[in-house]
Subunit: 239 residues, 2 copies
């Protein structure tokens, strides 16, 4: 099933365990090629925060049974705590992200370590994009994705915390709708939707930390930044 | 670019303007066939709330310039108001959905009318699923999608407000992660992620009210309900 307007999402399997200092762009490009779906110009590559943090060495020793050490780490990674319930903290990180436990994560990390969010996930995305442009020489957009909860709605979805080469939010305000009337509110968080689509082929327990999304609207290609996805606190009715 | 684990998302174009009483399932199946991508067993069909509401006659007369009539309509469709700012109301609907203006929508609707949410979007999805099973005789999952804002994050994303034939939330708690450790929080809102993926090919102003998603994990097929996606107020830290 294909066509000019079809979107295809392919998991990149066979990426080895990522370690600090690894060339993540190279590992992903190699695995994509090996499975017969090499990266191509105009593709969007989605990589999970977890492997980006590992490649960048954003791992800190943490005894998984030491609740107070964990709490201190979450506080250290937070600029503001919004809510607490038991061990769960919903806080705002230095990136402006509002999420559980400031993104400090113990799953899929070596025992005795926790992964922190990348220092600057937009920069992480740009590094990967630049590395792929150099070798294998493809012009792709790159998203760094993470898995967040939402108020009101049950279940987690993946969102984009780092963006390069793609609009994060596409502004359709002023475009006319099918009836020729100006649309009211139509700023679409396409980077979050792309991250969500990628999650559908990654799965949590299948150790697939990357996916290729092919067929996105070419007009969405621009430098982009995950900062577009941060609602300014002054406009936020729930902060 | 394909493969056994690839996901494909195809817009269904050429669906005529939908009117109250129309057989929406038939219109979508016909348009999908006409463009060379007929619905197949195991596909997931995503249709927007707007066309479902139109087919079900959930249209009410509303003068677009009468702000107070509009406010009354929003109040009527709300069971609880969470926040107000200017003309914007964030409220909870009878379905348990928290969204702007209780889902009352004037865009892509005939002038002088507003579209309300379907009375029971799960039932709407089930009707479409049953109709497609009867004719053309395919076993597909059906999602009814709508476009919602989120606290903290800028931009809108599509979510599932009606579900039939697909798990809305996939519970991976207890599955082991790559390192053999039990995962902590892994309930994934797959129906919302599928709705988001579909939105990427629909676009707001292109009058494409349906998309076919092919290649979802077959283990997610079950009756399902959008109620799975409603976080119980008692568990919600932001209500």
């Amino acid at each position: 099933m294909s066509g000019p307007s079809a979107l295809t999402v392919v998991p990149v399997e066979g990426i080895p365990e990522v370690r600090p200092g690894d060339n993540l762009a190279g590992l992903v490009a190699e695995a994509a090629g090996a499975q017969g779906t090499p990266l191509g110009d105009g593709d969007c590559l989605v990589v999970t925060q977890k492997v980006v943090s590992k490649a960048e060495g954003r791992l800190v020793p943490l005894d998984p049974d030491d609740a107070s050490a964990r709490r201190r780490l979450v506080e250290q990674e937070s600029v503001r705590v919004l809510r607490r319930r038991g061990d769960l903290v919903i806080s705002e990180t230095s990136h402006g992200l509002v999420c559980a436990n400031a993104g400090v994560d113990l799953s899929n990390v070596e025992d005795g370590y926790a992964a922190l969010l990348p220092t600057d996930p937009d920069r992480s995305a740009r590094w990967i994009r630049d590395a792929l442009r150099a070798r294998p020489g493809v012009d792709v957009a790159v998203l760094v994705s993470d898995t967040f909860g939402r108020p009101w709605r049950h279940g987690l979805t993946d969102v984009a915390i780092g963006v390069s080469g793609l609009a994060a939010v596409v502004d359709l305000r002023g475009s006319s709708d099918g009836a020729g009337r100006t649309l009211q509110v139509t700023e679409v968080a396409v980077a979050d939707e792309v991250a969500a689509a990628a999650e559908l082929v990654m799965g949590k327990s299948r150790r697939v930390p990357a996916a290729i999304v092919r067929g996105l609207d070419p007009s969405w290609r621009r430098e982009g930044s995950a900062r577009e996805l941060i609602r300014p606190p002054a406009e936020d009715l729930f902060r």
